[in-house]
Symmetry: C2
Subunit: 519 residues, 2 copies
C-alpha cells in the first residue's frame, strides 16, 4: 500500500493527497464550503442479554479486557489525553499488543505527549502502523523525520469528534482511563486520587467505538455520579493500581507571565478589546492556559470589575485564574473542556456552574451548531502567521511537527480571534510570506498582536473603524513582517523534502494541508 | 393498506401480527432470546455551516418552525410527557397540522393523557393516522373501540428509546417542550415557572430525530445550564407564553395511603422484604408514586433507620417522600426518570445527588446493560396477574386499554419484583387463569402481595427458602385465585372481538401481545 496517493491542490493552494493510508479523504474546499453527505456512523446494536444483569463488568486485567474485546491486527485503538503528560494507560495497551504479537494498529489518541515517546519502539517494530491524533514533542519529531510506516493525521478536538461521528474513523476498541468508575462502567474525572477533571475527549469514543474498556483506580459502588461516561456504552471495566498522574496535567505555564514582552502583548490585547467594545456586560471569552493568555484574563477581569460587569461564560482549559473569577462572581459559567490544574478539578467537581464540556457541545462542526462560534473574544497562539493571516500551530519554521491542534481550529469560529504572538522567536520571524503549514485560514483570524504593533485583518472593517482614532500601534501585517525581517533577516527555507508524513484536517474533515519530511 | 397482517403465535402463545401499519415486527421470542442484528439508526450528518453562527435559532412561532422543519403527510411527530396531564404543546402541533391540511401523521408521544382527548377529532379526520405510545384514559378507550385508522403500538420507556435508537421508529420532527432553554436549543426541565424536572423522555428524540424543535416559555442567554437537551441536536427554538402546566404533573395519588387494605399491602411487602433479607446497607429500590408504593417507601426508610443503614439509590419517579429520605441522609442518590411533584423538581434542581436520568441510562434493553437490572427491590402495580405470574398493566378485565406501560416492563429486570395488589377490584378478581393482555412474562415477577396472602413465584426457591419459617401469610397463587373467586365468582369474559387495535411491545422491540377491539 502506498502511504498516500492522488495529489490535488486544495482551495488554499496546498497540494494534498486524496488517499491516505489507503483511505479516501476530501481536500479543503473553503470555510463552510464542504457539505457532508450521508449519515452518522451507526454502531452495532447491543443487547442487555449479553451483559451481566448485576452490572459487574470487571475483568481481571487490561490484557484480559483487550483480548476479550478481540484485539487483533489492523485495529483502531483510541485513548484520551485528559492526563496529558501523566497518562499511564496508552503505553500499557501497546506493551500488551506487542506481547500478543498484534501488528499494524492505528493509534487514535485525542493527543499524545512526551510520556508516549516509549511507543516509538512499537512504531518501529510494526505494532503501531501510524498515529492519528495530535503529536506533541518526540512522536511529532519521529513523524517529521519520515519514520512512521503510515501518514499521521492530525485533527482538532472538534474534528476528532466529527471524524468518529461521521464514521471517517471507526474505533474498534476505546480504552478510557477514568479517575473514578463503577463496575458497570459509569465514569468521571472529578473524583478519586487521580482526578483530572472532565473526560469529555473520550465521549465520542464511548458512543461510537465497537468495544469500550474503562480502566480505573477508584472503583465505587454503582452509581458513579457524575457519570461523564455512561456505563451503558461500556463492555468491560478494569481496576488498576494507578490510572494516571494528575500532577502532570499541569502542562506548560500556569503562572501569569513575568516577561515584559508578554505582559506587553497581554496589555495591548486587553486594550484593543476594550477600545473596540468587545468586552461588555454578558460577554464571553476563551482563555488559554499560557502565560500571556492568563495575563489577558486578569486584564479582562479588571475591566469587568471596573465597569461592574459580569461575563456570561469563559471557555476554558481551566485553572486557578478563571476559577477565581467564577468564585468572585465575575462570570456566570466556566464551560470547560479540560482542566489544567487541581483548582480547576476541584471547581469542576464542586461548582455546578463550572461545567465539563465535550467536543460534541463545544466544537463538533458536523452538529447543528456548536458553541465555539458564540464566543466573543478568542485568544490563541501560533507558531507562524502569513501575510494573509493564515496561521500555523503544528510545525516550526524548520519544518518539524511538534505541536497538536487542540481546540485551536475550532475556536477560530469565535467572533473575534486574536493571536498575541511575539514578532520573532529565537531570531526567527513569526510573520512570513507563507506559513510552513496552514492550520487555520486567514479569513477566520482577525487580529495579530505583537510587541511591535497590531495588525487587523482588512476583512474586519468594523474593528478598523472602531479603532481608527486609537493610540494603539496599529500597522499593516506587511509592515510587521518588514520590521521583523529588518531585525532578523529573511528566515531560511526549511530543509523539507516532498514526501508527505502527516496530514492536517480542517474541522469539517477535509485536508487543509500536509506536513512534509524534514531531512 | 391492511392495518395488520401475518398472524403468528409468539413464545407466550399469544397470536400477534408480524406486519403492523405496513411495517415489519418480530414476535416475542422469550426473555433475552431475541438478539438484535444490524446497526443503530444513523441520523443525517449536519453542518454548522447551515446553522446561525450566533447560535440564535429562534423562529417566530411553532407553526413557522413546523413548516420550516418540512411538516408533511405521513410524518412521525414525537413529543414527551414530562408535563403529564399539563401538556400544552402536543395539541397545538396537531391544530397546526390540521390547519395546514397535513394528513396521516404518526404521533409518537412518550405517553398521552386525558388532556390529549381533544386529539380524537384529528384521529377521526385523518390528520393523525395512529398513536404509538402509551395511551392513558380517553385515547386508550378510543383505540379500544377500534376507531383509530392504524394499530396503536405501546412501548415501555426503555422500549421507546430502543425503537428510536434501532431505527424501528424514525422520528421526522421532535417537538420538545422545555421549561427553560436558550436560543441555541440547550434546554432543561428544572428551571423556569413551568419547571417539571427531567427532560429525559425527550433524549432519544433529540439524538435521533431528523428535525428537532425546542419550545420554551423561559428563554435564557446561552448557556442554559444544566443542558439536559443539547442545542447541538436542535434545529429551531420557539418562545411561547406558556409551555406546560407544572401543577398537573402531580398525577394520581402522591399522599401515603390511608386505606387500611393498602396499608396492609404496604406492611406485608415491607415485612417480606425485611424477612427475606432484601434490605441491607447499600440496597436499592424502585419507588412508585402510588399510595401503596409511597407507604412501602416509608416502611423501608424506617427499616433503614432502625438498622442504621443507608440505601445506595432510589429509582424514582420522585416526590417529597424520597426527597425527604435523600435530605435525611437515608439514601446516597435518587436516580430519577420523572418528577411527580414540586419537591421532586426542587430537589433535582438543587441537589447534585438527585440525578435526572433518561431511558437510555435506566431502561434501554439494547444497550450494554442498563441499571434497571441492578435495583434490589422493585415495587410495581398490575391490573391483572395470571396463575403463571404473567401480568397485565395496560388493559382492564373488560378489555379496555386505559393505561400506559411506563417503565413497568423495564423494572421487571430488578432483582426482586413485587406486585402489591388487591385480590379484587370492584368485585372483579385480579388473579386470573389468563390475563387479558400480557405485558410482563411471569418468569420476571417474583412475588404477589395481596391483602389475603402472599404468593411467591416457584422459580424463586431462594425466597421460598428464606421465608419458610415466616409467619407471613404465604400461599400459592392458585390458592389466592380460588379465594378471590370464592368471594367474587369467576369474572365474566370480556366482550372482545378478534380485531387487533393495539400491539404491546416487549423491551427488545418484539411483540408480546395485542389488544383487541371491545364491542
Amino acid at each position: 500500500m502506498k502511504k498516500y496517493d492522488n495529489l490535488v491542490t486544495n482551495a488554499l493552494g496546498r497540494v494534498v493527497p486524496e488517499i491516505i493510508n489507503g483511505e479516501k479523504h476530501v481536500p479543503f474546499m473553503g470555510v463552510g464550503k464542504y457539505k457532508p453527505e450521508g449519515r452518522k456512523h451507526a454502531p452495532t446494536i447491543a443487547s442487555c442479554a449479553d451483559y451481566p444483569a448485576d452490572g459487574n463488568k470487571l475483568i481481571g486485567s487490561l490484557k484480559e479486557a483487550l483480548v476479550k474485546a478481540g484485539l487483533r491486527d489492523g485495529m483502531t485503538i483510541s485513548t484520551h489525553h485528559h492526563f496529558r503528560d501523566g497518562d499511564l494507560i496508552a503505553n500499557q495497551i501497546f506493551d500488551i499488543a506487542h506481547e500478543l504479537g498484534v501488528k499494524n494498529l492505528r493509534w487514535f489518541p485525542s493527543a499524545s505527549f512526551s510520556c508516549h515517546k516509549v511507543l516509538i519502539k512499537y512504531l518501529e517494530d510494526g505494532t503501531i502502523h501510524h498515529i492519528e491524533g495530535s503529536m506533541n514533542g518526540p512522536l511529532g519529531k519521529f513523524c517529521s523525520e519520515g519514520k512512521m510506516a503510515g501518514v499521521g493525521i492530525l485533527r482538532s478536538h472538534g474534528g476528532r469528534y466529527q471524524s468518529v461521528q461521521d464514521g471517517e474513523v471507526k474505533i474498534d476498541i476505546a480504552v478510557i482511563a477514568a479517575p473514578t468508575a463503577d463496575a458497570f462502567g459509569n465514569a468521571n474525572g472529578v473524583q478519586g486520587s487521580a482526578a483530572c477533571g472532565s473526560l469529555g475527549f473520550a465521549l465520542a469514543d464511548s458512543q461510537y467505538a465497537e468495544k469500550v474498556i474503562v480502566v480505573t483506580d477508584n472503583l465505587v459502588p454503582f452509581p458513579c455520579i457524575p457519570w461523564q461516561i455512561h456505563g451503558n456504552f461500556v463492555d468491560y471495566t478494569v481496576l488498576v493500581d494507578k490510572v494516571g498522574l494528575p500532577e502532570k496535567i499541569v502542562s506548560g505555564t500556569t503562572q501569569v507571565t513575568k516577561s515584559p514582552d508578554r505582559l506587553l502583548l497581554a496589555d495591548l490585547t486587553a486594550q484593543l478589546c476594550e477600545e473596540a467594545g468587545l468586552i461588555y456586560d454578558g460577554f464571553s471569552y476563551q482563555a488559554g492556559a499560557g502565560g500571556t493568555a492568563l495575563s489577558i484574563g486578569i486584564y479582562f477581569s479588571e475591566i469587568l470589575k471596573r465597569n461592574n460587569w459580569k461575563a456570561r461564560f469563559i471557555r476554558a482549559g481551566s485553572n486557578k485564574y478563571p476559577v477565581a473569577m467564577l468564585e468572585e462572581g465575575l462570570v456566570d459559567y466556566i464551560l470547560d473542556g479540560q482542566t489544567f490544574d487541581m483548582e480547576g478539578v476541584r471547581s469542576m467537581r464542586d461548582n455546578p456552574n463550572h461545567v465539563g464540556t465535550s467536543p460534541f457541545t463545544s466544537y463538533n462542526y458536523h452538529g447543528k451548531g456548536n458553541f465555539a462560534s458564540m464566543i466573543d473574544v478568542v485568544i490563541l497562539g501560533a507558531t507562524e502567521v502569513d501575510v494573509n493571516f493564515n496561521a500555523n500551530v503544528v510545525t516550526h519554521t524548520d519544518g518539524y511537527l511538534l505541536h497538536g491542534i487542540g481546540g485551536w481550529q475550532n475556536c477560530l469560529f469565535g467572533r473575534t480571534v486574536i493571536l498575541p504572538i511575539p514578532l520573532f522567536r529565537d531570531r526567527i520571524p513569526v510573520i512570513l510570506d507563507e506559513v510552513t503549514t496552514i492550520c487555520g485560514p486567514g479569513e477566520l483570524i482577525d487580529v495579530i498582536v505583537t510587541e511591535r504593533g497590531i495588525a487587523i485583518n482588512p476583512r474586519r472593517t468594523d474593528l478598523i473603524d472602531k479603532l481608527k482614532d486609537s493610540k494603539l500601534p496599529i500597522k499593516s501585517i506587511q509592515e510587521l513582517k518588514t520590521e521583523a525581517e529588518a531585525i532578523c533577516g529573511k528566515p531560511e527555507k526549511a530543509r523539507i523534502s516532498d514526501e508527505i508524513v502527516a496530514a492536517i484536517k480542517w474541522v469539517d474533515g477535509t485536508i487543509i494541508d500536509v506536513v512534509r519530511k524534514v531531512y
